[in-house]
């Protein structure tokens, strides 16, 4: 165990507290309290206390009463009752009202206390693991809900449009009109395909393992440049890449590529129509074990009220361009998976810069 377990002991007899602390303080972090107010203050300050020992016979209230109270405010710590008077009534009370995990008789043997702590800790870990898994499940359900909803819009939508287009084209004898319809249908097909590709990214991110290799960013941007150069040329956007890497960097290249590609796609996409000197920049610097990736543009910018929402699943802040609502969500997932951070700085009608910092793996 790397970290010491935190334990709280409440007893009105000071000698018991001193003795308890003296024999256990090397192996555990011990908080002692002589009354329940003091004990509750410790719990409020240290939500990571794992085990609470409490004497049954105290002047202001019994141990069972204290546990009953504590249970509702701090449900996570494991409760252990200490008592010299083990009558059956108090045992029943302890279990039913205080929901205690163990019962230790006074005077105690250190080995009893230690084994109670170890057992409590196991129980605590299993429980918190369970609540963590529950939280993950809850999140997964929520995303599944959003997916189910988006299937009808983002997947069925373009399909319905395409089938409508097919109908129209079949009824038309005008070749120019048919070609116009085909052109529009092609756009819908591309949109649908992009959506499915980003769903694939989403899935690989959620379920995939990281593959850590040495990354040469000069190589990474070579591919990127090849992908975006043609686009930059036809859309007349000045595209500048700047890489400074003087040390090796280890990370998952697929995630890094996903981050760079999605941010660049957005930078190219959200340009102001008809603007002069359109610009997109990609700056990568590896320095002291971290990489900073900055993608900037002088495009449309993001409205201030949407900034907090742009990383949400299926959120779209723009009517100008088609988006799946998955791109930035995937970027954020990848960044978090690599223990990194992402910041956005955007001014409406002036441009946006995303800055990602990822530590060395």
């Amino acid at each position: 165990m790397s970290e010491k377990i935190k334990i709280l002991y409440l007893d009105d007899e000071l000698n018991n507290l001193i003795g308890f602390k003296a024999s256990l303080r090397l192996d555990y972090i011990i908080y002692t309290a002589q009354n329940s107010t003091e004990a509750l203050a410790y719990l409020d300050k240290n939500p990571d206390i794992r085990v609470i020992f409490c004497d049954q016979r105290m002047p202001e209230k019994t141990g069972v009463e204290f546990f009953e109270e504590v249970r509702s405010i701090h449900p996570h710590p494991i409760r252990i009752l200490l008592t010299a008077y083990a009558d059956i009534e108090s045992v029943i009370d302890a279990i039913n009202r205080g929901n205690v995990f163990r019962y230790v008789k006074k005077p105690w043997l250190d080995t009893d206390i230690i084994s109670a702590i170890e057992e409590s800790n196991k129980f605590y870990l299993a429980n918190s693991m369970l609540s963590m898994k529950n939280e993950e499940l809850r999140k997964a359900y929520l995303e599944l809900d959003k997916f189910a909803y988006s299937v009808s819009h983002d997947i069925r939508g373009p399909l319905v449009g395409i089938s409508g287009g097919v109908d129209l084209a079949l009824q038309s004898n005008n070749i120019d009109e048919i070609k116009e319809i085909l052109l529009l249908m092609e756009k819908s097909v591309t949109k649908l395909d992009t959506f499915i590709l980003s769903m694939h990214d989403y899935y690989s991110l959620e379920r995939g393992e990281l593959k850590i290799t040495a990354i040469d960013f000069n190589e990474v941007v070579k591919e990127t440049e090849a992908i975006f150069a043609i686009y930059a040329k036809t859309a007349q956007i000045d595209f500048k890449i700047n890489v400074r890497q003087n040390e090796p960097f280890w990370s998952d290249v697929i995630s890094i590529n996903l981050i760079i590609n999605n941010l660049l796609t957005n930078a190219f996409k959200y340009q102001r129509k008809g603007a002069d000197n359109k610009k997109v920049t990609l700056d990568i610097e590896v320095f002291r074990g971290s990489v900073t990736i900055a993608v900037g543009d002088n495009g449309t910018g993001i409205e201030g009220k949407y900034i907090d929402e742009i990383f949400n699943l299926f959120f779209r802040a723009s009517i100008q361009e088609s988006g799946s609502g998955l791109g930035l969500f995937n970027v954020k997932s990848s960044v978090l998976k690599l223990n990194g951070t992402i910041d956005v700085n955007s001014v409406l009608d002036e441009g946006t810069t995303f800055t990602v910092v990822i530590p060395h793996k």
Partner: protein, 134 residues
């Protein structure tokens, strides 16, 4: 009788199809297309009131301002403007809640599920053409 139409849908192909379907009904005098609900709403706000009826084909699911948000804003417009318009909601949604929610707005006279044939549109519009003694 002749009607004019406003199509509000973020998908180019769907607007195109809607326009063709309207043409087929033979009811239309002119159509306006808006790829986002904001511009559609602004147009409605700033157009002088006439005594002809304008049909709005409104897609429900659009980014930034969706059909529901459009309806919230539309219902707050002055009565004399609202009287000029009849809303037909258009959706690909299979969600019953969406459909009943959009139908609950007073100015929505019908809901069509994409894809819809021109006959379905004519049928919805009969409520109006009937109302006006046609």
């Amino acid at each position: 009788m002749k009607l004019s139409f406003i199509i509000i849908d973020d998908r180019e192909l769907d607007c195109y199809i809607a326009e063709k379907i309207i043409q087929k009904t033979g009811l239309s005098t002119d159509n306006k297309i808006f790829y986002d609900a904001f511009s559609g709403l602004n147009f409605i706000k700033n157009t002088p009131v006439t005594d002809s009826i304008i049909i709005v084909l409104l897609d429900i699911m659009m980014p930034v301002m969706n059909g529901f948000q459009f309806m919230e804003a539309f219902e707050k417009l002055p009565e004399e403007i609202k009287n000029n318009y009849r809303i037909v909601a258009i959706t690909t949604s299979l969600n019953k809640n969406d459909i009943s929610e959009i139908s609950s707005y007073k100015s929505v006279i019908g809901v069509l599920k994409k894809p819809y044939p021109s006959e379905a549109l004519v049928k919805v519009l009969q409520i109006i053409t009937g109302d006006l003694g046609q």
